[in-house]
Amino acid sequence: MAPRLKLFIPLILFAAMAVFLFRGLSLNPQELPSALIDRPLPQFELPALGQERVLAREDLLGEPALLNVWATWCVACRVEHPYLQQLADSGVPIYGVNYKDEDGAAGRWLAELGNPYRFNIADRDGTLGLDLGVYGAPETYLLDADGVIRYRHVGVVDERVWETILQPRYLQLAAGGDTP
C-alpha cells in the first residue's frame, strides 16, 4: 500500500466505528426476541378469572388473536387498557393472562375500566407466564389460528405499536397468510 493511503487507516477505522455506534443509539436492548416465536403456545390448565371453568390451550384456537399478559400491579397495563378496549370493540379477539395477581383486585379492575378480553386466564403463580418466557407485564403475543406464537411485543400496545407492528402481521394471519 502506498504510504499516503496508510495515513487514512485511522480515519477509515473511525468512520466504521461511528457507523456501528450510531446504529447502536437507535437499538433497544430491552427488546428480546421471544424464544417461542413460531412455536406452539405451551399447554396449560388454569382457572378462568371470575368463571367456574378450567381453561386450556385449545380454548384459544380457531382464529388469529392477541394474548395480553396483564396485572393490576402493573402501571403500564392501565395505560394500554383503553387502547385494548378500542381494539376489542373493532373486532380483534383478545385473551388475557392475569399474571401473578389477586382475583378480587383483577375483577374490580375489569368492572371499573371495562373488559376487552374474551376471557382471562388466572395465572396466580405465574406458571404459564414462566412457560411463555414472560419477564414483565405488559406483554402481548400474537397467535395464529393454530395457536402458534407469531410475535411477542413487550411493553404498552398503543396506536403506533398496533399500526406499525401488530396490525400488519395480524391482517396477514387473518387473510390466511403463512408467515408474517
Binding site: 436492548p29 430491552q30 417461542l36 418466557g133
Partner: protein, 160 residues
C-alpha cells in the same frame, strides 16, 4: 494506635460481609453440593428484566421466581444441563452469561481471540519494520569517510 487498628479491623470485616449481603432469600438444601450448584447456576443465569445482573443479585420479581424454580429443580434432581435447557427454551440463549457456541454467538466467542491475534500481528510487523530501519541506518563508512570522522573527533578533542 490500638484504636486505629480496631478501625482498620472493622473496615476489613465490613469488606468481608459484602458478598453475604448479595443473597436475598435463603433456601434450605438437602445436600451442600446442591447449594454449591445453586450458587454457580444463579450466578450464571441472567435476569431477563434487569439485563446486566444475574439472578443471584437481582431483586426483580422474575429473578425471584427463577431462583425459586432453580431451587425446586435442583431438589428434584435435575442436572445442570437440563436446568439450563429449560431456561433457554423459555427465555432464549440470552438468559445465559456463557451462551452456547453457534452461528449467532460465534462472533461473541471468537472476537477476543481474533483481536489479540490482530494486535500481535500489528506489533510484530511494527517491530520488524523498526528493526529494518535501524539496520538500514547503520551503513558502513567508506575509508574516506572514516578518515574525515577521525579528523573531526581529533579536532574537537584539541578544542576542549
Amino acid at each position: 494506635m490500638t484504636r486505629r487498628l480496631l478501625c482498620l479491623l472493622g473496615l476489613a470485616l465490613l469488606a468481608l460481609s459484602l458478598p453475604v449481603a448479595a443473597v436475598i432469600e435463603t433456601y434450605e438444601f438437602s445436600d451442600p453440593a446442591l447449594e454449591e450448584r445453586y450458587q454457580l447456576l444463579s450466578a450464571e443465569l441472567r435476569c431477563p428484566k434487569c439485563q446486566n445482573q444475574n439472578i443471584a443479585d437481582s431483586n426483580a420479581p422474575i429473578s425471584k421466581d427463577l431462583r425459586k424454580l432453580l431451587h425446586q429443580q435442583l431438589e428434584a434432581g435435575a442436572s445442570d444441563e437440563e436446568i439450563l435447557d429449560y431456561m433457554v427454551a423459555r427465555y432464549g440463549e440470552f438468559v445465559r452469561y456463557r451462551p452456547r457456541f453457534d452461528g449467532a454467538t460465534a462472533v461473541l466467542w471468537l472476537a477476543p481471540a481474533l483481536l489479540v491475534l490482530a494486535g500481535v500481528a500489528i506489533a510484530l510487523l511494527t517491530l520488524r519494520g523498526r528493526r529494518r530501519q535501524q539496520t538500514e541506518d547503520a551503513v558502513e563508512l567508506s575509508a574516506a569517510e572514516r578518515q574525515r570522522l577521525q579528523q573531526l573527533l581529533d579536532k574537537t578533542e584539541h578544542d576542549s
